[in-house]
């Protein structure tokens, strides 16, 4: 029976076809191949919706579609397959929707601005989308890794789109190399998973999370290379986490992401909201059943997440360019997701991944709209007063900002609150490390509120501070349309999971996302994960009280931050209050000298080591190799001289050889005594 699942490969293949089309005949198509991409992503979006509804009927799909290396005699089998469960179906919808909107927006941002090289641009977008979709539907870790790498490659191509300018190529290289650094660990992790379990499947009774669970329960045994099972699983999990930290721009591998702002703004929207950065967090969610088995790994994830959330938020406070602020907000928000995953809030993190996808895409596209209007000047200090000139952009941007800051009742409030709430109750339940992470996450809420509204006020309020701001460039439907769609979503997606309302008012059954993620395959449900995690819950007072306190505190902090921004920057002619921070500002502005110390590390530590290794390689290894080969060839040319061509000499040498043998063995064997 040809069900909707038979069309799932088409979701991935359609953007890929658009990539081929744009690459091959993009030059001869109107709009440089944009329509091919729009049609393809629209088709993927519709198919994803259909898949989504099929999944909502309670169906799931886990199927191998191609075996490309058949393992013999217990060797591993390498396969491509599809895993469609509520998580991947949800992600499919998000990715295809945002890809579609980004394609439409690009018409305004790229075509209307008269960019050249558009076929290359749309080809890149198509491949980028296809790679991410392939990653989302992957049913095993190796396939996920391959598409993960493709995503990285596409980000390199797109960030470096304006390759004639100095900044973008260098930013692209940085993005590629930094994420690649993480991916090495990921690759080692993939191999470790294969070596340990003999499979890398995500789901089913033969999947590696399930095998790991059984191994811990003593029901089966796997090769743990001499470690205790739990220690080894932690090591493997942390290796894979290396790739996640790189791609999801978590501390300390986050430095590529702000630089990646050099790419076209729609690409930034795609990277930050739905594809590259989301890939890391999605991977952890995908194999959450494995991470849930290791308290150490979870604690590390939570700490990295909480720290990154706070750390990135503080850096966002002082930035001048609108996209830089957004970049740090992305790092910070993905920190929240990691915090949620590490803190046992699988649903909460997924929820935040979803809401963030919408409001961050919205904010980037809004920023893109502002940048179009400002003739590609991104400095917020040159803006101001754009509210009246571009109302659609303003109100949608405001909706996104409220969501980002976590103000009730916008989407971001619900998801961020749930992340913090889950972390809090699990922390109170006897995991003090989570409380530390929670505190960092909570503090970050204040900074988030502050930098978000600093950005809003500087951009849209007050008086125009430059000529372009007084007379901005208009934007067309293809910019406003996507903004409007996302603006509505950013305001309303919170309703899919109103846990606080449920808890406080006692209305049952409005935690739709919980129910949704519980419909997955055996072993991949939210309930199962909740049972696996090592956490127990405790409350302040009662459950409802805790919910109320948590929500009130985070909302209060967000409003406090926003209020401070209001006081400082919502004035006709704001001044650079951050100057008052003095040295701290410099520190923040330079991103805690993250780049500098990493460059220093690379220059003063890695380079001498590399140079030494190079010397060793050139001098010793090459020397030995060259020496051996020249000695071999020289002795070869000597050895062949024995063969004089004169048969009498052969007879003599033969006799000599035999005599030597006879004498040698005679003496050795004592024949002559």
């Amino acid at each position: 029976m040809a069900g909707i699942f038979d069309f799932v490969p088409a979701i991935v293949l359609l953007p890929f076809v658009s990539f081929l089309v744009a690459l091959a005949v993009g030059n001869r198509m109107p709009k440089g191949g944009a329509f091919a991409g729009i049609v393809a992503t629209a088709g993927s979006f519709l198919l994803s919706l259909a898949t989504f509804f099929t999944v909502s009927q309670g169906q799931t799909y886990n199927q191998t579609i191609y075996t490309w290396a058949q393992g013999l005699d217990g060797a591993v089998t390498l396969e491509f397959g599809l895993l469609i469960d509520p998580l991947s179906a949800l992600m499919l919808v998000i990715v295809t929707l945002i890809a579609l909107l980004v394609h439409i927006f690009s018409l305004g941002y790229m075509n209307d601005e008269g960019e050249t090289g558009l076929p290359r641009y749309y080809a890149g977008l198509g491949l980028f989308t296809a790679s991410m979709l392939g990653f989302v539907v992957a049913d095993n870790l190796l396939m996920a890794f391959m598409f993960f790498e493709l995503v990285g490659l596409c980000s390199y191509l797109l960030i470096g789109f304006w390759f004639r300018e100095p900044g973008p190529p260098s930013a692209a290289k940085k993005a590629f190399l930094v994420t690649r650094f993480g991916d090495y660990f990921f690759l080692v992790g993939v191999v470790a998973v294969f070596a340990t379990f003999g499979t890398a499947a995500f789901a089913g009774s033969e999947s590696f999370p399930h095998l790991a669970e059984q191994a811990l329960a003593g029901e089966t045994s796997v090769n743990t290379f001499g470690f205790a099972a739990e220690t080894w699983f932690t090591i493997v999990g942390l290796l894979v986490l290396g790739g996640v930290v790189g791609k999801s721009a978590q501390f300390p591998l986050h430095t590529w992401l702000p630089d990646a702002m050099e790419g076209p703004t729609p690409v930034s929207a795609l990277i930050h909201a739905a594809t590259m950065v989301a890939a890391g967090v999605y991977l952890v969610a995908r194999m959450y059943g494995f991470y849930a088995l290791s308290p150490t790994a979870l604690a590390i994830i939570a700490l990295i997440g909480g720290f990154t959330a706070l750390f990135a938020a503080t850096m966002g406070v002082v930035k001048r360019e609108i996209k830089q602020v957004l970049a740090y907000s992305t790092i910070s928000q993905y920190g929240y997701m990691m915090l949620g995953l590490g803190g046992g809030g699988y649903v909460a993190a997924t929820f935040h991944l979803m809401t963030h996808a919408f409001f961050k895409a919205l904010l980037f596209l809004g920023a893109g709209s502002v940048i179009i209007a400002m003739h590609h000047n991104e400095n917020m200090w040159d803006m101001g007063g754009l509210k009246e000139k571009m109302p659609v952009t303003y109100y949608t941007f405001l909706s996104g900002s409220l969501a980002l800051a976590g103000i009730f009742p916008f989407a971001g409030f619900w998801s961020k609150d749930e992340v913090l709430y889950e972390t809090l109750i699990h922390g109170l339940g006897g995991s003090p490390i989570l409380l530390v992470a929670y505190a960092m996450g909570l503090l970050a809420v204040f900074f988030t509120g502050f930098y978000t509204f600093r950005m809003v006020f500087l951009t849209f309020h007050g008086k125009p501070r430059s000529q372009t701001a007084r007379d901005p460039h208009g934007v067309r439907w293809n910019v406003k349309g996507p903004l409007a769609v996302l603006g509505v979503l950013a305001a309303t997606t919170g309703v899919v999971n109103m846990v606080p309302v449920e808890k406080l008012l006692g209305i049952k059954g409005i935690d739709f996302l919980h129910q949704w993620l519980d419909m997955s395959l055996d072993g991949l449900t939210a309930h199962h994960y909740a049972e696996l995690t090592p956490y127990s819950s405790a409350y302040i007072g009662g459950e409802a009280t805790t919910v109320a306190i948590g929500a009130a505190v985070s909302l209060g902090l967000a409003i406090a931050g926003a209020g401070l921004a209001y006081v400082l920057y919502n004035v006709p002619e704001p001044t650079e209050h951050t100057d008052k921070l003095g040295g701290i500002k410099t520190l923040l502005y330079n991103n805690y000298y993250q780049d500098e110390y990493q460059v220093w590390l690379a220059n003063s530590v890695v380079r001498p080591i590399s140079r030494g290794a190079d010397k060793f390689d050139q001098g010793v290894v090459d020397g030995v190799v060259n020496g051996v080969s020249s000695v071999s060839l020289f002795s070869g040319s000597r050895v062949r001289r024995i063969q004089t061509g004169v048969v009498s000499n052969y007879a003599a040498l033969l006799t000599l050889g035999l005599t030597v043998l006879l004498l040698g063995f005679g003496l050795l064997g004592g024949w002559f005594q």
Binding site: R641, Q643, T644, G645, V646, V647, S648, A651, A652, T655
Partner: protein, 100 residues
Amino acid sequence: MVPPEYYLVLSAAIFCIGLFGILTRRNALLFLMSVELMLNAANINLVAFSYVWGNVTGQTFALFTMALAAAEVAIGLGIIMVLYRNFGGVDVTDATTMRW
């Protein structure tokens, strides 16, 4: 009875004479004759120790060796013929087009 060691010494001497001929003679025919000498050294041993051990295995095998030596000479003479035709002589050191 002659002690068997004497036969061994005799055969070893003949074997070495044959070997000496091979190493010093450049004429292919003499080379061939020297090989015959070495094979006959083996025959002396076989016949003598057939007597010592009291079985006829050695004597029978000596007959086979002689037959094989004859066959070998037949092939060898054929090769020496074509050597003469191609190189204009029977000097074994002339044929040195292939070496190293």
